[in-house]
């Protein structure tokens, strides 16, 4: 017990020291950015994708001389996609001081729980990948002036998808199948809202627990209800399962929604089974701008595979954040925040990142379609 006591005292003392040290370090030494991502648990692979994107941005900026002539460092702590854990680590990092901004959290509930901590600490918070609509509703004029959300909301992505499907005359018989998380639920709500605006409705709406093994029940239902399109909001693992079982049960229906074309088995993709499938993502490595192709090449060289939309969002939002620090001319939080509200950062896909009054960036919705066994970009619209 005594040792614990001493430890605690030491902790407190260390905290104080760090705060003073932090004040000094603000003039020189590296600029530090705090980050939390799920590095363990079910969402760990997404956390890693985000980390790769952000690391890539940091490496590029540091290679070009850093920000304000200082190197930039990112400390990542695991949040396990659990808000309790996240609040603990975010509080710890922010109270240690010395950090100029907080980066992401990946899971929407984590971000929502971190926002009050950020507001108390008064430090800019760049939400790169969490998608819940509630985050931006509670940011900017909606509440937290420190929170900035980079990637589009689930609602706006769904709206872009439905808009494209309507154009192609495919929006009449959409069956929705989503995972039972904020991602899937807000995708379903987005689809419903966008269809309702056009006087239409979903054919059916199903949710499943993440990690569900067997989809035969739902797929058998589709054999009878014969939807024109199945909108799916699933993580790569479940999507793989769904697609494989669709093939196995001979349910040949084009998919739509947040389909991750890169995680579909090659044989299946090439067999033409999924031809007609469309997808909406904030990003595609296929988009043919010189900047994007350079990014994809560099990413492949570094990590061995093409970047997905999570890596992209992390990369681009980190670049936007660093640009704001550069323009602020200081690591003072208030100045960075102001710089962020005035951001006009050129994106890889063309256009500029700027934040609206809800501190929400309006980036792109990329529409893909699978034809002849290959995924092609068929549309690009601002959200």
């Amino acid at each position: 017990m005594k040792r614990n006591l001493r430890l605690n005292g030491a902790l407190a003392a260390a905290g104080l020291c760090l705060m003073t040290a932090g004040a000094i370090a603000q003039q020189s030494g590296p600029i530090k950015i705090a980050a939390t991502l799920p590095l363990s648990g079910g969402a760990a692979n997404f956390g890693q994708a985000a980390r790769n994107g952000a690391d890539m941005a940091l490496a590029e900026v540091n290679g070009a001389g850093g920000v304000l002539s200082r190197q930039v460092m990112m400390d990542v702590q695991d949040n396990r996609c659990n808000p309790t854990e996240a609040v603990k680590v975010v509080t710890q990092m922010l109270s240690d001081g010395g950090y100029s901004a907080l980066f992401d959290g990946l899971c929407s509930s984590v971000v929502l729980a971190s926002m009050p901590v950020v507001d108390r600490a008064q430090i800019p918070y760049m939400v790169a990948t969490a998608s819940a609509t509630a985050i931006s509703e509670k940011s900017g004029v909606g509440g937290s002036k420190w929170t900035f959300k980079f990637n589009p909301t689930d609602a706006s992505m769904a709206a872009a998808m439905v808009s494209w499907l309507t154009e192609k005359g495919l929006a009449d018989k959409i069956a929705f199948l989503g995972e039972d998380t904020d991602f899937g639920r807000s995708g379903g709500d987005g689809f419903k809202a966008a269809l309702k605006a056009r006087g239409k409705a979903l054919l059916s709406e199903d949710y499943y627990q993440q990690g569900t093994a067997d989809f035969s029940a739902t797929l058998t239902k589709y054999r009878t209800s014969r939807p024109g399109v199945v909108g799916i909001y699933a993580l790569a693992s479940d999507q793989q399962n769904i697609v494989n079982q669709m093939q196995a049960f001979g349910v040949k229906v084009p998919l739509s929604g947040r389909v991750q074309t890169d995680s579909i088995a090659k044989e299946l993709l090439e067999s033409g089974f999924l031809d007609g499938t469309s997808a909406v993502q904030p990003y595609s490595p296929e988009i043919d701008t010189p900047k994007n192709q350079a990014f994809v090449a560099a990413f492949k060289a570094k990590y061995g595979s093409a970047p997905n939309s999570i890596s992209y969002s992390a990369y681009e939002s980190m670049r936007t954040l660093l640009d704001a620090i550069q323009r602020a001319g200081s690591t003072e939080p208030e100045k960075i925040r102001t710089a962020l509200t005035q951001a006009k950062f050129p994106t890889l896909l063309g256009g500029e990142v700027s934040f609206d009054e809800y501190n929400l960036a309006h980036t792109f919705a990329v529409i893909f379609q699978i034809e002849g066994g290959k995924a092609k970009v068929v549309g690009l619209s601002k959200t």
Binding site: G42, S216, T224, N244
Partner: protein, 291 residues
């Protein structure tokens, strides 16, 4: 609902149920003989699937070779599990066995996450993407094989329990350990065989399902909870009861999942379990057919 639809749902439910039966009856076998609820059972199912993924996917062995290899390995692991861990908890209080196997489950699951990450893998075999069709019902070959393997495993075990010396010994020990000791049965040997068989069942389920579902470290976690519910519905330690309850749960999932929603099917399974506990604590199928 037309007949074809209903028939397809029936077939789906039957295959899912048979697969559940494999996992649940393995759990029941271990419980019957050791009086230990094996919380790590789902992790052995996961290990079986992981092993199948490596044998079939990485080493490129054929489906049937993979199944045999995994079942043998799982049986060996089961025997080891008994010798190293479970035998120390025989006859001790219930909670010790539960907590020790829960610890084992934590080690295996989180260890697998640490080593292999949570990225799901799909096992490809020579039967992947092949379908069997009859009377308008579609059945993927890999599912059909899983169901057939389950039936074979059941039939074999049933025969062994009834007709072989060892089988009778297993039943004897599970009914009355002291009496079995008196008639010269070595309970340790019998227990080892029963645990090895129970874990081999889990391994077989893993191997049979690796090509059907995606393989990842947390797959056993969700599965074993359902197996618990099945075992309770069927009556703790009741081998055939577990199998019947598994078929029942499979049917419920298939029909409720298609007509209402997958999530409701899950809720029904757990609620049924609580109801069975309230109304018929000895399980739906009574004590008559105890192991």
């Amino acid at each position: 609902m037309d007949a074809e639809f209903a028939l397809q749902l029936l077939v789906n439910g039957l295959t899912i149920g048979l697969i559940y039966a494999l996992v649940a009856s393995g759990l029941s076998l271990v419980f019957g003989i050791l009086n230990i609820v094996n919380f790590a059972h789902g992790e052995f199912y996961m290990l079986g699937a992981m092993l199948a993924y490596f044998v079939a996917g990485t080493l490129g062995m054929s489906y049937w070779v993979t199944v045999v290899v995994v079942v043998l390995a799982a049986g060996a692991i089961g025997a080891l599990l008994y010798d190293i861990l479970l035998q120390r908890f025989e006859g001790s209080n219930v909670e010790r066995g539960v907590l020790a196997t829960l610890g084992l489950s934590m080690v295996l699951q989180n260890g697998a996450i640490f080593l292999f990450s949570t990225t799901p893998r799909l096992t490809r075999t020579e039967y992947s993407f092949k379908i069997w069709e009859f009377a308008g019902v579609t059945l993927p070959l890999t599912r059909l094989f899983a169901a057939v393997l389950s039936v074979i495993a059941f039939a074999l075990t049933w025969w062994a329990l009834q007709a072989t010396q060892t089988g009778r010994a297993i039943r004897g020990v599970s009914q009355n350990r002291e009496a079995a000791l008196m008639v010269g049965i070595d309970p340790k040997r019998v227990s080892r065989i029963a645990v090895a068989a129970g874990i081999a069942f889990a391994g077989l389920a893993g191997a049979a399902l690796a090509p059907v579902y995606s393989v990842h470290p947390t797959m056993g976690f969700a599965f074993v909870f359902k197996a618990f519910a099945i075992v309770i519905i069927g009556g703790l330690g009741n081998f055939q009861g577990a199998a019947l309850a598994a078929l029942l749960v499979g049917m419920v999932e298939s029909f409720v999942g298609a007509l209402a929603s997958l999530v409701i099917a899950d809720a029904i399974t757990f609620a049924t379990m609580l109801l069975v506990l309230l109304m018929r604590p000895e399980g739906l199928f009574g004590r008559g057919v105890r192991l």
